[in-house]
């Protein structure tokens, strides 16, 4: 097994934004994650690939404790995840997450969706939070939708609002859980563009996606998972041109 992640190009451990060491996760007797070791450096964009059921989503959901890992250590920006409620909230404040199904709050306007966290978690006054929200909506290019409800937007617009909502908490890591899988084909690009722009600003990102083009162009590293374990890690060039593992080759043959 070629596990190159322990010696990343950016190296030193104090640089790492997210580290997972020997992480196991079970759902009942089914093992979803097997001895995961991964270190994501600051400003790095890691794309996680793999067949469905390979544990990609579980991996990132463990990082912000939407799932509880059963063994191993997970650290985000030097904070180690524990069962302590305060630590969990601290980690959640450091991370942002974008879901496949957007999960916008349907009873709140777009603006309120975005200002909710700044106002409630960071105690920001309303007008300041709204200024911030409008700035973020400009960034995802839909400021004119601020007063609408999520149900009135297209899928692509909703996903961009979801990205803005995550950014409003000023996270240090953004995690994407198949952000374009629930979108109509013509809307995928507008979301990927926003993600690419975000990567350009130096945001640390972990993306679970099936968009190979995005992986090739934007990823600093690609992680390939199968059956709950990390099979191969490498630069996009290495990964797409000369994959070392048999399983990786088979996966690439199937999708390309």
């Amino acid at each position: 097994m070629t596990r190159t992640d322990t010696a990343t190009t950016k190296g030193a451990d104090d640089q790492a934004m997210v580290t997972l060491e020997g992480v196991d996760k079970y759902f009942g007797s089914f093992q979803a994650l097997r001895d995961i070791h991964l270190s994501v450096a600051r400003q790095e964009v890691v794309v996680v690939l793999g067949p469905s059921g390979s544990g990609k989503s579980t991996l990132i959901r463990c990082v912000n404790r939407l799932e509880r890992h059963d063994r191993g250590r997970i650290t985000v920006d030097g904070v180690e995840l524990s069962n302590d409620v305060k630590t969990i909230r601290q980690v959640r404040r450091l991370t942002g997450m974008v879901f496949q199904q957007f999960n916008l709050f349907p009873h709140l306007t777009v603006l309120d969706n975005i200002t909710l966290a700044p106002r409630q978690v960071r105690r920001m006054p309303r007008h300041e939070a709204e200024d911030l929200a409008m700035e973020l909506l400009e960034r995802v290019k839909i400021p004119e939708q601020a007063r609408k409800y999520p149900g009135q937007l297209s899928g692509g617009q909703q996903q961009r609002v979801a990205i803005a909502r995550s950014l409003a908490t000023e996270p240090k890591v953004m995690m994407f859980d198949e952000p374009t899988s629930a979108l109509d084909p013509e809307m995928i690009k507008e979301v990927l563009d926003v993600m690419q722009e975000l990567a350009g600003t130096g945001m640390t990102m972990i993306c679970v996606t099936h968009e190979m083009g995005f992986a090739r162009e934007v990823a600093s590293r690609v992680v390939f998972m199968d059956e709950g374990e990390i099979v191969e890690v490498g630069t996009p060039e290495h990964f797409f041109i000369e994959p070392a593992e048999e399983r990786t080759k088979r996966f690439l043959e199937q999708i390309l």
Binding site: M97, Q101, P106, T169
Partner: protein, 473 residues
């Protein structure tokens, strides 16, 4: 089709055409009522039936109906045995409640007006006509009541009370957003004072009132910022002054004397139902959330409460509450009969509400909780700001249905010898001149009083649903 087609030419499916005009009544009837032989026969038969029913109904209401028992005993039906010398308390209460409702309503109107302005949406305020259309069952009930009175006094009373409400509402609309916060407190004070003046629950309300006034002053002066060193002192003086005024006003009135137990008639139905609805809602919420709690003790308690109460008939519970609720409470003086009845109705309704709310909680997708957690909201906020609003919106019809049930079930209070309206109606026919007179009419009157209010609740719930349905996905 090519781009060179001149615009005057008309093609099917091409140029934009006008929306079909609304059909005339005649055309509509031909299409929907008389479009084939069967339907025509059916329409004629049903129309004839309706005409006959209307004629009989109108004849009963205006010609043959013997409304004398209702007319003679209207005050009795409404207020029961409430001491006549103390009636002014009820009058004051109604004025105060009207003022409170007017303040809140006006505040809500002006805040939605402001929001509409911010969002650039045209806003038209409700007119009198809209109000009548919205509340017509209540207005019909009021008209029926006024039609039964023997003097002009009640008419003046109703008219002036409505005027108080309208004036309060207009005032709130005219005043700016700054006054909205304090207005909630003033509405609260009005409601509290209205409660006080009738129930006479003693000295505690002095403290509630003072706290409310202090909070109102704080809220009002919150946005006044100066650097002056005397500012905290001035604020303190203002609060002290306001409290002193409250106490001075309170001291003018005798609040003791009229307790719960004097309440009866329709007033008792209304108050018992309203109190139980207000109290049962938080009980139901807590039990629903508790039933899904991770803590076994909380879950066990909630399940036990819900299943125990739901398995026993309300009448049995009322008897039990009447007979031995007092034994369980560590208090010297026994709780009044009405208090015990309200407690039982609250617990009973709470258990049903809990199951309704639980259904709503289950309807909220898991992703909503995850998204709320992911942006760092604490568990209570996830529940209060994300889960509950969506859960409750989904179950409004069932919730209001339960409230309507509770309102109608207040007639069961008669079985524990509380003189609610149905019991009073019975006693009317114990009067010598009405022994066999107008038995159906009094029953119709009681039924109508309940129907008018229950139907209004139902309509309001549909309205609320429509309004909250904005942006439904």
């Amino acid at each position: 089709m090519t781009a060179t087609v001149p615009p005057t030419e008309n093609h099917d499916g091409g140029a934009r055409r006008e929306a079909p005009a609304r059909p005339t009544a005649r055309a509509w009837a031909r299409e929907n009522l008389f479009n084939n032989r069967h339907n025509s026969v059916l329409s004629v038969v049903i129309a004839a039936g309706l005409v006959v029913l209307t004629i009989y109904g109108a004849r009963f209401l205006f010609v043959t109906g013997q409304w004398e028992p209702v007319r003679t005993n209207l005050t009795l039906l409404m207020m029961g045995t409430f001491p006549r010398a103390e009636q002014w308390r009820v009058v004051v209460q109604v004025y105060l409640l009207c003022a409170a409702v007017g303040l809140v309503w006006g505040g809500l109107t002006s805040s939605s007006r402001d929001r509409a302005r911010d969002a650039g949406i045209p806003f038209s305020r409700a007119r009198l006509r809209d109000g009548i259309r919205r509340w017509w069952p209540v207005f019909v009930l009021l008209l029926a009541l006024l039609g039964m009175t023997r003097t002009w006094l009640p008419l003046g009373f109703v008219a002036s009370a409505l005027t108080v409400g309208v004036v309060a509402r207009r005032a709130m609309e005219a005043l700016g957003a700054v006054w909205r916060g304090p207005a909630w407190f003033f509405a609260g004070i009005c409601a509290l004072a209205g409660w006080q003046v009738v129930s006479g629950t003693g000295g505690i309300a002095w403290w509630w009132g003072s706290a409310l006034v202090a909070a109102a002053v704080l809220r009002t002066t919150r946005n006044v910022r100066t650097d002056a060193r005397w500012q905290p002192l001035a604020r303190f003086a203002l609060i002290a002054g306001a409290i002193a005024v409250v106490w001075a006003v309170y001291a003018q009135f005798d609040f003791s004397g009229v307790g719960w137990d004097d309440w009866s008639g329709f007033q008792l139905n209304l108050v018992a139902a309203a109190a139980s609805i207000v109290l049962a809602f938080p009980v139901g919420l807590a039990a629903a959330v508790g039933r899904r709690s991770k803590l076994p003790a909380v879950r066990f308690l909630s399940v036990g409460y819900i299943e125990l109460i739901r398995g026993v008939p309300l009448i049995t519970l009322l008897f039990m509450g009447d007979l031995f609720l007092g034994f369980f409470l560590p208090t010297e003086d026994p709780l009044s009969k009405v208090t015990r009845a309200i407690a039982v109705m609250t617990l009973f309704t709470g258990a049903y509400l809990a199951e309704i709310v639980r259904g709503g909680l289950q309807a909220v997708p898991r992703g909503q909780v995850e998204a709320a957690q992911a942006i760092g909201l604490s568990a209570p906020r996830v529940l209060g700001m994300i889960v509950l609003p969506q859960a409750l919106r989904a179950v409004i019809p069932a919730l209001v249905g339960q409230f309507i049930n509770l309102f109608k079930d207040s007639t069961l209070l008669s079985i524990i010898a509380l003189t609610e309206i149905l019991r009073i109606r019975e006693s009317i026919h114990g009067q010598r001149e009405f022994l066999i007179v107008g038995i159906a009419e009094t029953l119709v009157f009681v039924a109508f009083a309940f129907w008018a209010l229950a139907f209004t609740m139902s309509r309001e719930s549909q309205r609320l649903e429509r309004r909250l349905g904005v942006g439904e996905r």
